[in-house]
Symmetry: C2
Subunit: 205 residues, 2 copies
């Protein structure tokens, strides 16, 4: 091949999100879980992922475990760092969605404005806000990671629900009462939402 | 279900990278394309993606188009901002690889230390450095985006190859001579590498 023809053929050949969704045989979207520490966001997100994976859906869960020590390792917990944290997670989830993956994010994401920033990054309908509703008393009683105890002892400043506010979603796509509902019932509610939105087929039909 | 039993069943059920690779029916990895502006990184990455997509491989290309205006929109082009840019791209590619995707990154990534930082984020063998080798004279002659002209006119400071160095890889997994080779031959070399590494099956066999 001559140099000239090399020049002419070196153009972009782009695979689109819809190509990737076709390959994966389902639509992609962001499932944005929000709620207090201990409200069950991460557990629910992972359980939903397990369900989806079993029916052949490409998934990924973003949570503190894989984001805070990596992509956002330079950020702390001030309001501005929290905002930047959520901004990056939103951008990351946007790229994963573009990659044809159902992306589940499990972060407290206490501020409405930050969640709305993430929502606005993607087309309408691609961002499903799932509110893990649980009274702080129950979260504190569970205290799986011992964080409430530390926060009460003054060892963790700006802890959501203690000395930093949690702004509950006003119009989430779904509210899951994680105190009242079992995990399997909660998973079922999320899956039902995905079927209703046409993201996945109804495997029960 | 009682509150007590709710507590006991709310545990993590994690899907692993290897589960996702099984679902996608191929291994995941990072193909890190590096080279001067105009050396053909992005074009080659997109052409490789097109080839892979056609044979059913889950892929995603990270390049200036989808990263600089989003995840890294807060960064400029100083050495430290460039380093942070590459760090975030490395972390992003790591997460995408964990999601079971063959992730192709197409950034100049001129500094050896930054590329090595990205390499060290993932297990041995997951990071394949692909050097798009092309003399700067040819890149400047192509000047697809008109950037060299602007850099020569002093409108773009710290332009790689003009007033900022490009440190060529010493031991890349693959060198593609984009001046001498056609695009299709270059794609074939990359695919051959992926087959050799056991990431994808040899579709020709």
């Amino acid at each position: 091949m001559t140099k000239k023809s090399t020049h002419t053929v070196w153009h972009h050949a782009s695979i689109s999100r819809s190509d990737r969704e076709s390959l994966h045989n389902h639509k992609s979207a962001i499932l944005w879980f929000t709620g207090l520490s201990g409200s069950g966001k991460s557990t629910l997100a992972h359980a939903v992922e397990k369900y989806l994976h079993k029916i052949g859906v490409s998934t990924y869960v973003l949570d503190g475990d894989n984001v805070r020590h990596g992509l956002c390792s330079d950020l702390g917990f001030t309001d501005s760092d929290r905002a930047e944290n959520i901004r990056r997670i939103g951008e990351l989830a946007k790229l994963m969605t573009d990659a044809g993956i159902i992306t589940l994010t499990a972060f407290i994401s206490p501020f409405m404005s930050d969640r709305d920033t993430a929502r606005k990054l993607v087309p309408d309908g691609d961002f499903l806000e799932i509110y893990c509703l649980c009274p702080i008393e129950t979260c504190e009683q569970r205290d799986v990671k011992g964080l409430y105890k530390k926060a009460r002892a003054g060892e963790i400043p700006l802890f959501t629900g203690i000395d930093s506010p949690y702004q509950a979603p006003e119009k989430p796509e779904l509210t899951v009462n994680t105190q009242e509902q079992s995990l399997s019932a909660s998973v079922e509610h999320v899956i039902k939402l995905l079927v209703q939105r046409g993201l996945i087929d109804d495997v029960r039909s």
